[in-house]
């Protein structure tokens, strides 16, 4: 199947959906189902749009984007299914968002990437507009626009130097034309910052708090889970196949390291559960990008998968919990899980996986990350990661203990059976993958090679 359908179908349905509002939600579900089906049937390769080979726009399906597509589409689908009530009038937006997300993962063209970035960005603004904090969303919009503007600036500089927009051609062209790295520092930094805004990297992410701290389950899972994963994967592709960090790598590493540290420390200092989770999400995205920036693709993808699954569980349950109890102060949520054991179990498993304790998938990921970092002899970074994950573990354990054990009266909340089932399955998945990882690691093995293949062939068909 042609992967462009992954983008075309949601778009088509989006256009159709505004003609009659009644069909919007069913259309969304159908589109999601179709996409999930398609993801598992498309085959690898380079797909041209309009038949202009490497001079036009291409979609690239390799192991990397395939894994990304599977994860993102499935989680997107489940998010919508488990939050059917919240979807309401957002169906069209979600359809467009789905198209944008798939586009970001598939595209092999820098400018096309910008367009999809904007699509995803605008849908994100609209999705977050539901939390009744227009100022926060406005803030997000301004920052997002500046960010994508900077990305565009960097892109056009790059174009003027290389004369191409094809991601697979940039690197070969740089080599061919022998463009010195110092000349490339500015465009790459601009693009890095532009994407960094969306990827929640530290100095550029003041939007996150406002947007996520009041978000419901749907919004938070989409923004912190699906979109973040997509952006991270996009970022990862750029960092691994397009960017030549060269002289700016120090600045980039500092930014990423500070992001990680600041996220965890801020989460440590937070008293509200959603804030804790959102800061933790910031730190995680910092870590993911950090891995990509160091060329550690496989651990990064593993982390992305672990992250989206656990973030799905955490944010969904938190959203439902906050909905049900009308509060997100950890102090007043004490002991909520004693009445909702299944949900509590899923939440606990997800947190333990995020902390990186054995028997859970997060542990395998952490081990992988550290092994790779040490094989590069990155002593300082790995020490930082350990320190950071100590802080992370501390507040997560604190959170868990508070949520399981009460001192006073216990608030209750109701969770649909569907949410229970889905989160439970995800939690079990974390355990299963934590014990038996071979299929996943095997399928990841070929990712870096395949990523480089397109470049080696210069985007030819």
């Amino acid at each position: 199947m042609n992967p462009v359908l992954l983008i075309a179908i949601p778009l088509l349905f989006a256009f159709l959906s505004i003609m009659n509002k009644k069909f919007a939600r069913p259309l969304l579900l159908v589109a999601l189902l179709l996409d999930v089906y398609l993801v598992f049937t498309i085959s690898k390769g380079l797909y041209s749009i309009g038949g202009f080979s490497q001079y036009g726009i291409n979609l690239l399906v390799d192991q990397y984007s395939l894994i990304g597509l599977m994860v993102v589409n499935v989680v997107f689908f489940l998010t919508v299914v488990t939050n059917c009530k919240e979807v309401k009038r957002l169906s069209t937006v979600l359809l467009v968002a789905l198209a944008g997300v798939n586009g970001l993962l598939l595209t092999n063209d820098l400018f096309n990437l910008f367009v999809f970035l904007e699509i995803v960005g605008i849908s994100a603004y609209l999705i977050t507009s539901g939390n009744k904090r227009p100022l926060a969303t406005f803030n997000y919009l301004v920052q997002g626009t500046v960010g994508s503007g900077l990305y565009l600036l960097g892109l056009i500089l790059l174009y003027s130097m290389t004369g191409t927009l094809n991601m697979a051609l940039i690197l070969p062209t740089i080599v061919d034309k022998a463009i010195p790295l110092s000349n490339l520092a500015l465009p790459f930094m601009l693009m890095f910052i532009g994407l960094g805004v969306e990827a929640k990297l530290l100095p550029f992410n003041s939007w996150v708090k406002g947007v996520l701290q009041n978000a419901n389950a749907l919004t938070s899972v989409l923004i912190a889970g699906v979109f973040a994963t997509t952006i991270a994967l996009t970022f990862g592709r750029l960092l691994s196949t397009v960017f030549v960090l060269g002289s700016i790598s120090n600045i980039v590493l500092v930014i990423l390291a500070v992001t990680m540290l600041a996220g965890e420390v801020a989460a440590f200092a937070s008293k509200r559960i959603r804030e804790v989770l959102l800061f933790s999400a910031i730190a995680q995205s910092g870590l993911i990008i950090l891995l990509f920036a160091n060329g550690l693709v496989i651990p990064a993808i593993m982390l992305i998968i672990a992250n989206i699954v656990s973030k799905y569980i955490l944010f969904t349950i938190t959203g439902k919990m906050v909905d049900g109890t009308k509060t997100d102060e950890i102090e007043s949520l004490q002991g909520v899980f004693s009445k909702n054991k299944l949900v509590g179990f899923a939440f606990t498993v997800a947190s333990l996986s995020v902390i990186g304790l054995p028997l859970f998938f997060g542990f395998i990921v952490k081990l992988n990350i550290l092994t790779s970092l040490f094989s590069q002899y990155q002593l300082f970074l790995s020490a930082l990661i350990l320190v950071v994950s100590l802080i992370e573990g501390t507040y997560f354990v604190k959170l868990l203990i508070k949520l399981w054990y009460s001192v006073g009266e216990v608030k209750t909340f109701k969770v649909d059976a569907l949410v229970k089932v889905v989160t439970l399955i995800f939690a079990l998945g974390l355990i299963v993958f934590g014990v038996y990882t071979k299929p996943l690691t095997d399928s990841l093995m070929t990712v870096p090679e395949e990523m480089m293949e397109a470049i080696a062939e210069r985007g030819n068909f």
Partner: protein, 246 residues
Amino acid sequence: MKKVLSLLVVLALGFGIINSLNQNSSFPKFGEADVSDRVSDRYINKNVTEENEEVIFGEDGYETGSSNFVTSIVANYRSFDTLGEVTVLFISAFGVALLFSKDSKRVSLNFKPNFMLRVGSRALFGLIIMTGIYISVHGHLTPGGGFPGGTMIASSILLLYLSNDSFRTKIKGFKLLEGFMGSLYVLIGVAGIYVTGYFLENFLDTGVVGDLFSAGIIPIVYVIIGLKVGSEIASIIDNFLTEEVS
């Protein structure tokens, strides 16, 4: 103080960027861009898929038949971008509607349109909308195209809004038009897959360069874009004329 500091920082950055661009040997100086070195060279010579030395006005058989190279890029070589772009506009328009739909009421204009406005706008309406459609249709031949054309269409509708307050309540078809046109665009793209194997492939005959009926799907796409942009911008305007009830 804050302003001075900001100014200083911004100035530093601006001069820094200019300086670094100036020293950047790979970045072509203004007006010295070497087009032959860029991918655009292929677009100008229309030899992306076919061997082709040079495009000659009035001949046929090129991969795209548009004499306006920008249009050939917008609506053919990089048509996928344009689809995305239309989607951005679409989702913005939808978003504006979404933001205003709840608890909102329509506001009536706080002035009564006078005679000049009523008559003048009707007279101008026809002219402007004609121009808009013309520009959309001739997008592959002359400067302009679907986007400017669509905007003109929308501005003509704005005139109607101004001149006749009840007009807005009568017109309901924008959503339908918008959705329909968008779907059509996607469907044309999907049709490409089934006709030739590529999404958004120009599967019609490209015709003679310079003819009105040439360039395959380009004019069709541009007309679709024109109508879609027109209806979207019109609906944005429409929505801004409502007010939230608090």
